[in-house]
Structures are given as C-alpha cells and as structure tokens.
Amino acid sequence: MFQIYLPIAEMSVDIFLLLGMGGAVGFLSGLFGVGGGFLMTPLLIFIGVPPPVAVGSEVNQVVAASVSGFMAHWRRRQVDFKMGVVLLSGGTLGSAFGVWLFEILRELGQINLVISISYVFMLGSIGTLMMMESVRTILRRRSGTTARRKAHVHNWAHGLPFKMRFRTSRLYISAILPVGLGFFVGVLASLMGVGGGFLLVPAMIYLLGMPVSVVIGTSLFQITFVTAVATILHSANTQTVDVVLAGLLTLGAVIGAQFGTRVGAELRGEELRGLLALVVLGVCATLLWRLITEPSNLFSLSVVGLN
C-alpha cells in the first residue's frame, strides 16, 4: 500500500511493515531490557533485505536504541567509565576486524552464508540457555526452594598479567579480560548488527565480576560507542548502512519500547521469558530451514565491487 524505497537496500517495502517490525522488536526489547538487534536482523533478512544491508542498517539502529539508556544510567552515575573505555578499546579493534572480515567474505561470495550461520549458532545457544534457565526457575519455584547465586568466583583469570584497578567497579583485574570481551562483542556488532548486551551483561557479571549496579550502564556505554564505530566503518567500507531503513525501524522501536517497558514493570513472569526463548528458537529454526532447503535457483549474480 504505502511503499517506500530503501535507497541502499535498493528495494521497495511497505512502510507499515517496517514500522510494525520496529514496534514489535522494540516492545520485546523494552520488556526484556535488551537491544533487540539479534531479532531484527533476521527479520529484515526474512522480508528480503540483502543480509549485508540488514546488518549495516541494524547496527545503526542499535545506536539509537541504546543511547538514551546510556544517558539515563550516566545521570544516575551507574557507569564505570574506566571499564567502559577499556571495553571500548577492544570493541573498536573488534568492529574494525569485523568490517575487514565482512569485506573479504563478501568478495568470496560467502557473507550471506556466514551471517546466517552465525545467527543460527547465536540464537540457538541463547534460546536454549534461556529456555533451560526458565524451566529450571519454574521448577524451583514449584518445589519452593530458592538458590542464591554466588556473584564472583576466583578463577584462572586472576592469574593474567596487565592488572588494572577499576575503582567504580571495586575491581583489580587483568585488562586482557575486558579488552578481549570488548573485541568479541565488537566483531559481533560488525558481522551481525547486534549490540551484544545479551552476552556482554552476563559476561561482565560472571567473568569480570563487576557489581551489577554499574553493569547495565557500562554495557550501554560500550554498546552505544561500538555500534557507532561499526556504523561509520560499514558506511566507509561496505556501504551497507541504509539510513531510511534504520530511521523507520527506530521510529517503530521507540514507540514499541515505551509500551514494553510499561508492561515489563507490571509483569514478572518466568513464562514470559520462556516465550522469548521460543521466539528466539523459532527465528533460529527458520534461518536453519532456509539454509538446508534447496534454493529455487542455484545460480546467482553479483557485480564485482558492489553488493
């Protein structure tokens, strides 16, 4: 009905489809407090956006989705900037490496495949873990026992060199850990168009041992800046950032997230989390199905130097 032309994706899409997708994913991200990039990129691929453009545009949208959260935590002084900068140094390297890898894979004609396979692995493991956690919690609640988790255990990581003091996080740990973590999440941002909060937050708590009060704010700091760097690097090197697409998704997501946050404040259900796990596993299964069914045409064309 109301078609809009996406200049970088070079296709026309119904404007309300994009707003609706932005709204739905925004709602989920408001509900669960995560960015939503890990659902949006596959959905864009499903509606026919070329996977590289889906990744480049989504990483741009994550900037919009995380910046206000970062500012809010900053105002409440819940950001460990020193830790954030160390994470970001790794994240910048990681996203540069990711964009470099992205270009090589595109030249080899394998970028679509690598994006899809990465998503199958990532969504598969996240979905399974969430499902297991959810089922375990429901069972535990039924049996009436509660388990208090141990926040931080001393492990092999404490033997690493280059120790640094992080005053806000009350930590004295090797800088290798946050740099490495930032690097990995940076690669994910460039290659898959995700902020990586779903992975960064638990890793900061369990691996780095940060106090949870500063984890969300610090992760949002890293996500905002790494996705900004990835957006610029993608724009300069791969030309896969469609600002019209990102803008429409953001518009939908901002509205959806408001409702999600509101509903999330009222609801507190393990079943809800189980439902998100099902959605994640469903998207994963659809991606896998597309990889294993024989395509209608085995041949495809690509122009050298273009996507």
Binding site: E10, N60, S68, G109, F299
Partner: protein
C-alpha cells in the same frame, strides 16, 4: 566518466561504419522518444519509443543495450554438510547489463550468424568474455545461467519484439524497461539489413539514471561513506534521545 562513455560511443560508431557496405545516408533515419529515463523512488518501469523511416526497402533491427562497467561473477550453490553454499563461480567481463532487440523479421532469417555477431544482434551474438581461469565447460554452463537469470529478471527480454513496417517505409517499436532497469549510458542502435548484409545504422544515446532523494542518498553513501556514516550516527543519537524525551515520565 561521461567523456569515457562518449569515447565508447564514438568507437562503436567507427566500428559500425567500417563494417558496412556503402549505402546512402538517407536510407535509414531513426530517433527515440526520450533521451533520459529518470528512476525515481516510485518508478515502476517504462517504455521507450523508437521510430524512423527507411528508403528503398529492407529489414529493420533495433537493439537497446548497456554494458556493465564492472565484471560480473556467477555463483553456483552446492550442498556442503547439508547446507546450500556458494561453491563454484565464474567471472565474466564485458557483460551486457540490459539487452533488448526488436526486428521486422525473425533474426535468423535476416542475416548469417557471423554478420549478426559482428553487430551484436541477438543474445547469441553478445561478446561476453570469461576470465582466463574459467574453463570451457564451466564457461558454457555459467554463461547459460547468466542469460537465464537476466531473462528471469526481465533484463534480457526473451523473445525479440516484432517491428511493423508501415507502407514499407515507416517503423516504430516500444521497448519495455522493467522497474529494476540498470542505470548507465545506453546505446539505441537501429540497423537496416538488405540481402543478409547490414547496410545502414544509426545510434542514439540514452541515459538511464536515478533521480530524487533516494538517488542522492545512494550517491552520497557511495561517494563519501565516512561522512555519511558520521551523519547516520548523529541521526540515530538524535532520534534515540528525542524519542525518549517525548515519552519520558517520572
């Protein structure tokens, strides 16, 4: 860039005139309805009218084509560990990005294949070149796939269009362009064929370009990617903050 295209056209014209038998200049006159097709965001395809007149009988062939500037890679998927993966590929140069042909009679009745090949009339006459590393068998298979894909996308219309000659003198034909017609400097060539020989030719330039906001954005993204990226980030930051401000509650 425009200069390069003009040079190409001049060479093409020179080649044409070299291979032709002498015929008076007035034997074929042709023109097109439009020298510029602008693709805006609501472009759904269009038609180009080619018209003209011939003197002294003969057949008319009209060819509309544009070359792909860069090489084209044709990839074939194969099953690896149960997953369909791009495996074999072949790279071609001098690929025609869009090719439409129209004629007063079936092409094979007009001239010998060598003559048609000389003027690149008909899909079989296209001078696509495989890169040196592509072997002969693969070349045939991948070239067929290339033509099939182009035909499926409407970029190589399958059947030659038929041209009616009015009173043995006047001709006109509408060439359809699909919605995703490639941009570039096209050549619209009209040929006059008598007794299996091309005796007259006329070439008109046609420019297909993107217009409007989308095209500007596309050009900006491709020409100054870093600045485009910085603005994309600033836009996202503004949108994120503004959106939150609008809905903020205590």
């Amino acid at each position: 860039m425009i200069r390069a295209h003009l040079a190409c056209m001049a060479i093409a014209l020179a080649v044409l005139s070299l291979g032709m038998r002498p015929a008076t200049a007035q034997d074929l006159i042709a023109d097109i309805s439009n020298h510029l097709i602008s693709i805006t965001s609501d472009f759904k395809g269009t038609e180009l009218l080619v018209f003209g007149a011939i003197e002294g009988g003969g057949d008319v062939v009209v060819v509309v084509s544009v070359q792909q500037r860069d090489n084209v890679i044709v990839r074939k998927k194969d099953r690896v560990f149960g997953i369909w993966v791009n495996a074999e590929s072949a790279e071609f140069s001098n690929v025609t990005a869009f090719y439409a042909v129209a004629a007063t009679s079936p092409l094979e009745e007009l001239a010998a294949p060598e003559q048609l090949r000389l003027y690149e009339i008909g899909l079989d006459a296209l001078r696509v070149e495989a890169e040196p590393d592509v072997d002969e068998a693969a070349k045939l298979e991948f070239l067929d796939a290339l033509i099939e894909l182009k035909q499926a996308n409407g970029l190589y219309p399958v059947a030659p269009l038929h041209i009616d000659l009015v009173g043995e003198r006047l001709f006109r034909v509408k060439i359809p362009f699909p919605a995703d017609v490639p941009v570039g400097s096209y050549l619209v060539q009209s040929f006059l064929i008598r007794d299996g020989q091309v005796v007259g030719a006329q070439t008109s330039p046609l420019v297909v370009s993107k217009g409007g906001f989308g095209a500007d954005l596309y050009e900006f993204a491709n020409e100054d990617g870093a600045l485009y990226g910085i603005l994309a980030v600033l836009g996202a930051v503004m949108a994120g903050l503004l959106g939150n401000l609008m809905f903020r509650r205590p």
